[in-house]
Symmetry: C2
DNA sequence: GGGGAATGTAAAGCGTTCTTTACATCTGGC
DNA sequence: GCCAGATGTAAAGAACGCTTTACATTCCCC
């Protein structure tokens, strides 16, 4: 599933490790999400959306595959 | 995580099996979600939200635990 | 061109999400 | 009371989400 995580992270000037610590997940998890290796769990998706002040639908896009 | 799946399903007059077939998951999965035994995957959460014409945030509520 | 930070990737392991099969209970109509 | 549909639950197994450790690569900056 597509997402704009990398763009949102860079807007904050954060490294993947920075974002990981804000989300309480590992850096590898952030990397995997940005690279679309898998989708986050629903709780993590909510945490990401909240961190960036967006709706889940504005971060993750299920439609374009 | 809280959700209002059962209420939305009943508004449609659907059984758990009906909802399951609309979502292409098993009836046990619908039952488990309604009873809060686990959270859906992100793609399934999107499918549920879309089916009921709602945002993910209007079906699943992360805050009140 | 050397060095450190950032990023990409891999493997093993654990818990979660979802499946199938199967059975128990509850409900409502007849 | 009986029966059928709806719901709850269990167990075993496959696939996924996330962890830790570890190493390779890329990117700057000097």
């Amino acid at each position: 599933m597509k997402n704009c995580l990398q763009e949102l992270r860079r807007q904050k000037g954060w490294s993947q490790a920075d974002l990981a610590s804000h989300l309480n997940v590992s850096r590898q998890t952030v990397n995997a999400l940005e690279r679309g290796r898998y989708d986050p769990s629903l709780p993590l998706a909510f945490a990401i959306a909240r961190l960036f002040g967006r709706a889940v639908e504005q971060v993750f896009d299920p439609d374009p595959e």
